[in-house]
Every structure is written in C-alpha cells, then in structure tokens.
C-alpha cells in the first residue's frame, strides 16, 4: 500500500493506482476524457493535468502511478492554467452546436468547460468542417466535428470487445473516428460507445433529437431481454421508453449493454403490441373479457372441482406478479397446478448457481451448449474483461457446434447435445475414477461410443479437476448435466460455479415466488390437460407452441383444454387455440423484482403507462377475486428480498442426494441425414423491435459454410426447402463457420413458425425458384 497526499488530505491506496483513481477515493474529482478504468490508461487528451511536488511540469493524473509520499495538487494556478489551455485547444475546431446536440446537458465537454475552461476562445479562423451525423451503423451516429479524439470508442471496440471495427483515420486536426472501409460496424456491442463517448460525438440513432435532459425522466431498471439482466437506465418521455443506457454499479459492473438490450426497448409500443381484449376472436371491452374469464373459471371449478385450472408463467413478469398468480391460483381458483414455461429441460439448484464474480476470478470456463456471445452477450464481455487481466484463461466448449470464437479463443469438444452429460461423466471417470459418485454417474454409459478420443476425454476431465476456479455456463438443454455438475462440484475442493443461461428471464424470480420452475412440472401440468384432468389453461406470458420442446404435447394440451386464456404482450404462436387474449402490462410499466442468472435481485422501475387496455397482473387478479366474491388478501406483503442474503438469493438447501446414473442416450435414427440443433440467440427472443429491424434477418437458421456452398446460399443467406416428416417447408438459412456439416442450427423459441415444424428433417434442397423477399 502506498501513502500519499492529495490536496492536503492523506490517502492510502494499492500500488499501481493512478493519481486520478486515488483522488476519486477522496471524492476529489479530476476531469478526464480518455481515461476509463475498464480500458486502462492512455494519456491522449491531457485533460487530467495535476501538479505533483518535485516534478518540473504538470503531469497527467491518469498515467502517473502513485508513489510513497507523493504530494499532489489538483487545484491551484498552474493546474487551472493547464486545464484552460487544454480545453481551449479542444474547442478550437469544435462546432459549439450544443443547442442542437443530444448530449447537451449530459456532456463532459460542456461540464468541464463550464467549470475549468476559458470563457471564450481566441481562435478566429474558420473551423475545420467534418462529417456530421454519419453512420457507424444503423443504430449509432458519429458527429466527427464534436469528437475530442479521446479514443475511448476505438479502444473499446478493438481492445476490449476484440472486434476492431472503429479506427482513427488521418492525422492531427484532420483525424476522425470512422469504421473499417467505411462499412457499418456489425458487432453486438457497438451501442456502448454512445455511453463511453464523453462528448456529443457518438449518438444513438433512434434517440437522435428525441429529447433533452429537461424533458425526459430516467428510471433505474434492468434489461428484460436475456437472463443477464444488465443494470440499465430507461429514459422516458411522454409515456414512451425512448432510450436505454448502461448503469454502472461501482466495483461490480461497468454498465455495458449489448445492442439487443440497448436498442430493443420499443416492444412496449411496437405495432404488434396487444392493446385490446379479445374473446373468441372478437375485440371486446376489458370489463367483459375479465368477466368472461372469471365465469369460465367458476364454471370449470364448479364442474370439475379443485385443481382443474392450470396456470403457466412465462414472459418477463416480476417476481411479485408470479407470487400474485400463484396466490390467486391457490386461494381463489383452488388450484396448485402452477408451472413455469420452459424451453429446455434442465434445472439448476440454487446451491450450484455462481455469480458474475466467478467469471472475474475464473481460470477455466466451460461453455456447455452455449455460446455466450449469442445467448447472454454481456457475459461474453465480462469474460473478455477477464481475458484482459488473465490471458491464460482456459476456455472450453462442449456441445454440438463450436462455442469458442475469435474473441474468446479456446478448445471445442464437439459432441451431440444428448451426449454432453455422458462426455462429462466419462471425463470425470477417467480423471477421478474413485471420486465420490463418479462410478454411479457412468454406470450405464461406460461403453457408450463418443466421437472424442479417450485421451481427449481424460484431458478434459483433468482440466475440470485442475482448475483453481472453475466457472461453467450451461444452456440447460441436456437435463442430465445437473447431476453431473453436482457430482463435479462435490469432487472439487476448489470453487466451482455454474451460471444457467436459459430462460424465461425471470425464472428464478418465479421460483422465489413459490412456483416450481422444473420442466417436469410444466410437462405434468400439460399432460394432465391432455388427459382432461385440467380443463382450463391460463397462460401468463407463456407461449406453448413457440417454446415447449415437446410440440406435440403443447398442441394436444391446447386442443383439449375447454378454455385457453392467454395474457400477452405480443401475439403468441398459440393464437389459433386461444379463447381469451388479455392485454397485460409489462417491463417498464410495472415495478417489481427480477432475479437474473446469478441469482441477484434487482428492481425494475415503472416509468410508462401500458397502452390501451393493457393492465398489470395485479389488476386482473384483483378483479377476478372480486368477481369470485372472495377477498384473497392481495395485500399480504410478500417481499422477495426477505429470503435473500443481501441482494442474492439464498444458496442454502438443495442438498444433493446420492449420485444417480447418467441415462444412456437413445440411439439416433441413422436414416436421418441431418441433425437439428437449437441455441439461444438474443435477437430471436420473441420480442419485436422496430429499431432493431435493420439488424434482423429472415435467414435465422444456420448451416456450415460447406453445406451453404452446396446449397448455393450466398453471403447473406438464402431460402432452402426442408423436407420433413410432416411435409416440405421453406426455411431461411445462412452460413456460419461455428456449425458443423450436416447440422441445421435453429434459434430456440423463434418467432418463425417454420422453426417449430422441422421434426424428422430428412433433407435440405436448393429450391427450384427462390421466392422474392
């Protein structure tokens, strides 16, 4: 530890700390542009000049590390003169167009000039003119005249994200920030440069000229688009969310967002948003729909008795709303058939659930079936951060496609989804054959043939055991992995953390509210519906057709139920079966708790009105309670934080019983030439966005580049005919080097109906005639 004095106050900081950070500890603000803690020092802008005793000249506080006994002055004549000079230079060619700049009022050039700058410049010559509002891509604009050349954006994209899509072009006053070959930047993380840019040079295209600080409100919330639940700030104006910004949390989170989250905030007022109540395919009044549904429930209960109504929670509801549904089901509708919608079969006990801290400490990470870049993008950035600090990070992928990538290099073990658990079990048996539970685990798969050599299997097992701090990301596709992970955690005496990447985004919150989120539960509920034990289905955000892996079960249950009530934000694929479609309030319209993939509770604020007749869950259940003439204690104060430790859910309990054997996967039908695999892809999570349309593609399925060439699919994708057991469908496909040959990858829960119709895929062929898009 180093002791030094800043502005007369003493402070002790770790060795290697820069003066600006030491000053921040004392609450002394040193102005900076180029410096950002996540990116490290650069020394490009000279804004952070401070005076250090015994040094002949002013020094940059962001590149000067503290030394013992150092005496620093951040105020005084010399520093003030230095700052004035730097600002005068920065403003020489600045257009001074603050009155029409989106960052006006949120800009460090304004703030610092006001605080430290000269009142006016002495430069009278004409200013250099550059590009104004040129595109970085469809979502981000650049005003090159306002840029102070701090390079935060360039360094973020290049060094931090690892996708070098921005650069400084030219020299001196002519230097500009632009994109490679002047082509649009395609990274999933481009929007972060808007937050990073200290001035008004990088701007959000959809927010362009939409609001100024005095006519907007900002609400602290979390992104609802994937289980990361990134901390963010929603900007609202006139009951619309018009911007989402990252919200850094000190010492924990840099506040990065992916472009899906940052720009996908408009689903609440998208043209597809359901704003009317529909009963039997006819729009009706909210009161009538509520009454009809209550009547159906009463009728069903009267005729078939308790337990004849099934409730399924999906969507992006808060934990409190899940609690209300559960309570209403039990107290009023007399049913304990309440389940969580699931699109994969796996479940992770809280005891094994790691946190993001486990990513910052890991020396080995394993991706089980999931490529974080696509499924949980900001986790990819968190791992990039780890890689910057720990270049030996070992990255291993296990799944039916390549899961590592250029920006996250590692080793892939290609095994079918159904073989993942077998692969792990055998790896453990090879590396720790006497470990507790290991022999039981492999009991029925000892001789199962895997496409990986014995040496590789053993090396993988050894890597799992040798890791000092092991973190695994798991997509939940192979349910038997839960067993393997429990045994693995028991074997290792070192930290072992699993982060589940599956949804629905708030499933942990629903679990906290007392609803069993396991696949078996929803499966049983639907089986009961299929057999007629449950007569009515209430789907709260759940879309069975889109999400349930067992599509046949979904269809049979929907067809069999006397009544299907569905509360939704946008039209579900279940539509043909629905008797009452209820418009419901969603993220940003209701305040409540979200629990993310690390089991952390956060509050999403309410900032806008739901459109049309859309009402909160609470209003629905309260009205139904009244119609049932039953007061069911809506105001019992359940608080999800009650059972949490700090803001994390409790990891206690879930004691793992004796190990169980990994079931032997069924043999594959050898006549099937193609294998279908599924993966999560945030862009295809079902929530529509007009803003993100330029980023969307019709060609959401993927094949290997070799297959694409054979099928005559061009660079941006194309249509092919898929011959399946149920007939021929036209599907949109593109090439992806991560996919192996004779494999068709489709996004899980795609909004494309054809994606749910590919069972028994026999063959893909080039269509005779390509339909025009």
């Amino acid at each position: 530890m180093i002791r030094l004095t800043i502005d007369g106050q003493e402070v002790t900081v770790p060795e290697g700390t820069m003066i600006v950070d030491a000053a921040a500890r004392l609450g002394v603000d040193v102005p900076v542009y180029c410096y950002h803690q996540a990116l490290g020092p650069l020394g490009a802008c000279r804004m952070c000049l401070v005076q250090v005793e015994k040094m002949p000249k002013l020094v940059t506080g962001c590149t000067t590390a503290v030394t013992e006994g150092m005496v620093v002055h951040t105020k005084g004549g010399a520093v003030e003169k230095g700052r004035k000079g730097v600002l005068e230079f920065l403003l020489i060619n600045h257009p001074l167009d603050c009155p029409v700049c989106d960052k006006g009022g949120e800009c460090y050039l304004q703030d610092y000039t006001f605080e430290y700058g000269p009142g006016r410049g002495r430069f009278q010559e004409p200013k250099i003119q550059k590009v104004k509002n040129g595109p970085i891509n469809d979502l981000v604009l650049i005003d090159q005249e306002r840029c102070v050349l701090c390079q935060r954006c360039v360094r973020f994209m290049g060094d931090y994200v690892g996708e070098e899509q921005l650069l400084l072009e030219g020299r001196g006053v002519e230097t500009v920030v632009t994109t490679v070959d002047h082509q649009p930047a395609t990274s999933q993380f481009t929007g972060n440069v808007i937050d990073l840019c200290p001035v008004g040079a990088l701007l959000s295209a959809p927010y362009y000229h939409k609001g100024r600080p005095w006519n907007i409100d900002r609400h602290s919330t979390v992104c609802p688009h994937c289980p990361v639940g990134c901390s963010s700030l929603a900007t609202t104006r006139e009951s619309h969310i018009i911007r989402l910004e990252g919200r850094p949390v000190p010492d924990r989170d840099w506040g990065w967002l992916c472009d899906r989250g940052r720009f996908g905030y408009d689903f609440g007022y998208h043209a597809d948003r359901i704003a009317d109540s529909w009963v039997k395919e006819r729009a009706t009044s909210a009161a009538q729909a509520t009454r009809d549904v209550a009547e159906w429930m009463q009728q069903t209960n009267a005729q078939y008795g308790p337990g004849s109504i099934g409730f399924v929670m999906g969507g992006q509801f808060t934990a409190e709303e899940a609690h209300l549904i559960k309570k209403f089901a039990h107290d009023v509708a007399q049913s304990d058939n309440v389940a969580v919608m699931r699109n994969v079969r796996g479940y992770l006990p809280a005891a094994l659930n790691g946190t993001f801290q486990d990513l910052t400490e890991a020396d080995t990470v394993v991706f089980v079936g999931v490529d974080p870049y696509e499924a949980v993008p900001v986790v990819h950035l968190k791992l990039r951060d780890r890689l910057r600090h720990f270049s030996q990070l070992k990255v291993l992928g296990v799944g039916p496609r390549r899961l590592t990538r250029d920006t996250m290099p590692g080793r892939d073990y290609l095994v079918a989804s159904q073989d993942e658990a077998v692969f792990f079990a055998r790896a453990l048996a090879a590396a720790a054959k006497d470990g507790p539970g290991v022999q039981t685990l492999v009991d029925s798969v000892r001789d199962y043939v895997l496409p990986v050599s014995d040496a590789d299997i053993e090396a993988f097992g050894q890597a799992l055991l040798d890791a000092e701090h092991l973190s695994l990301l798991w997509d939940g596709e192979n349910a038997a992995m839960a067993e393997v992970l429990a045994v693995l955690a028991g074997l290792r005496e070192k930290p072992t953390a699993v982060l589940p990447t599956f949804g629905p985004v708030n499933w942990r919150g629903y679990e906290q509210a007392g609803i069993d989120p396991r696949y078996d539960n929803v499966e049983e509920l639907l089986n009961k519906t299929r057999t007629g034990e449950i007569r009515m289905l209430v789907l709260w955000g759940a879309d069975l057709t889109r999400d349930l892996p067992d599509r046949q079960l979904a269809e049979q249950a929907l067809a069999k139920a006397d009544y299907v009530v569905s509360a939704q934000v946008v039209p579900p694929l279940d539509m043909p079966y629905i008797d009452a479609l209820l418009p419901v309030a969603t993220w940003g319209e209701v305040e409540g708790t979200y629990v993310n993939m690390e089991g952390r509770l956060s509050i999403g604020a309410a900032g806008v009105q739901p459109p049309g007749q859309a009402r909160p869950t609470r209003t629905y259940v309260a009205n139904w309670g009244r119609l049932f003439r039953q007061d069911f204690g809506l105001d019992d104060e359940w608080d999800p934080f009650d059972s949490a430790q700090g803001d994390l859910i409790s990891r206690a309990g879930n004691n793992h019983g004796p190990a169980q054997a990994v079931p032997r996967p069924g043999t594959r039908d050898a006549s099937q030439e193609w294998t279908i695999i599924e993966g999560d892809w945030v862009m295809e999570n079902g929530m529509p966005s007009e803003i993100l349309e330029p980023r969307e593609t019709e060609f959401v399925a993927r094949v290997s580049p070799e297959d694409a060439a054979r099928l005559g699919i061009g660079e941006h994708g194309g249509y092919v005919e898929a011959q399946t057991a149920g007939g021929t469908v036209m599907i949109g496909v593109q090439a992806d080097p991560a996919i192996v040959e004779r494999t068709l990858w489709i996004p899980r829960g795609s909004r494309h109906d054809w994606a749910q119709h590919l069972e028994g895929l026999v063959k893909l062929t080039r269509p005779e005639e390509v339909p025009s898009v």
């Binding site: 290049g158 070098e164 899509q165 400084l168 020299r171 070959d181």
Partner: protein, 161 residues
C-alpha cells in the same frame, strides 16, 4: 494480392521484431510498385501480417506520404504551415493550381502531377517550402511556379516515396 507480397512480408517480418514495425516498410514497398494503397491492398496487408484492418488503415492514413488515392507521377506537397503561410504559400498554391489547371487534391489529366497540401515540413527557415516526391524545394518565389516545375523535371527527382 500479388504473389511477391507474401515473400516481402516474410522478409520484413524477419528484419523487424514485430508485425507492427514491419508494417511501414511493407507499405512503402508495395506503394513503390503500385503507386498507391487501395482498400484492397490495406485488406491484403492486414491479412499478411495478421493485424486488424483498422490498425493498418490508421497507420496508412496517418502518414501523408502513403497515398490512399491514385496519384500522378509527381506529387507536389505545398507546405501550408505557419511560416510558409506567412511567406505566401497560399499564393504559391493558387499559382500552381492555375498553372497545372487543377485544384488542390487533384491530379492532372496526363497523370503527371498531383497537387496536395502539407503541414509544416520542418524547414521553416527556408519558407515557403514545397516537396516534390522526396525532394524539397526551398525559398521559392510564390509568383514563379514555373521555376519549381522546371527544376523538378530532372531525372533524379523520379524517386517516389
């Protein structure tokens, strides 16, 4: 990509400690052959050295003697730095524009001359200064552009950057 570029890249990589430092000589070498650096060249060089394309572009665009557009046989860089400006470089530029029939930034139709501005060429005591390819012409009379064009005709000036 020309087949010999591969060879050159290998040679420069051996001579220099890293790809970053071998980049400049390779760009010079290629420009000496091609006359300029096209987008495609930038892309190829990035591939040869396994560097991000953005990095190669940043370097190429930083130096005024790397040409990102096609140029004539003689590139005339008129210094517009402070000393040269005080000594009449704007007038010299006008006269050259008039004499060559082109504007700053353009190339004559016969492909002989390209006329460009340069920032301070570090010979202020001899202002105004013009650089033609690699040779400096100093203490020029802004009203007599012909002197410059005549004297830059000698064969030794054919060296291109």
């Amino acid at each position: 990509m020309k087949p010999e570029w591969n060879q050159w890249a290998r040679e420069f990589k051996e001579q220099y400690p890293g790809a970053n430092s071998a980049l400049m000589p390779l760009l010079h070498r290629i420009q000496a052959e091609e006359g300029w650096l096209s987008d495609e060249t930038i892309h190829d060089v990035a591939t040869l050295f396994d560097l991000p394309e953005s990095y190669v572009e940043s370097v190429a665009s930083f130096y005024s003697l790397f040409f990102r557009n096609q140029v004539g046989k003689k590139v005339v860089h008129v210094c517009v730095g402070l000393s040269c400006a005080l000594a009449g470089s704007d007038r010299l530029m006008e006269n050259l524009e008039h004499r060559l029939g082109i504007k700053e930034g353009q190339t004559t139709a016969d492909g002989e001359y390209t006329l460009l501005e340069a920032e301070c060429l570090a010979a202020c005591n001899q202002a105004p200064v013009v650089q033609v390819n690699l040779r400096y012409f100093e203490g020029l009379d802004p009203e007599r552009p012909d002197v410059l064009l005549e004297s830059s005709k000698s064969p030794e000036e054919e060296v291109k950057p």
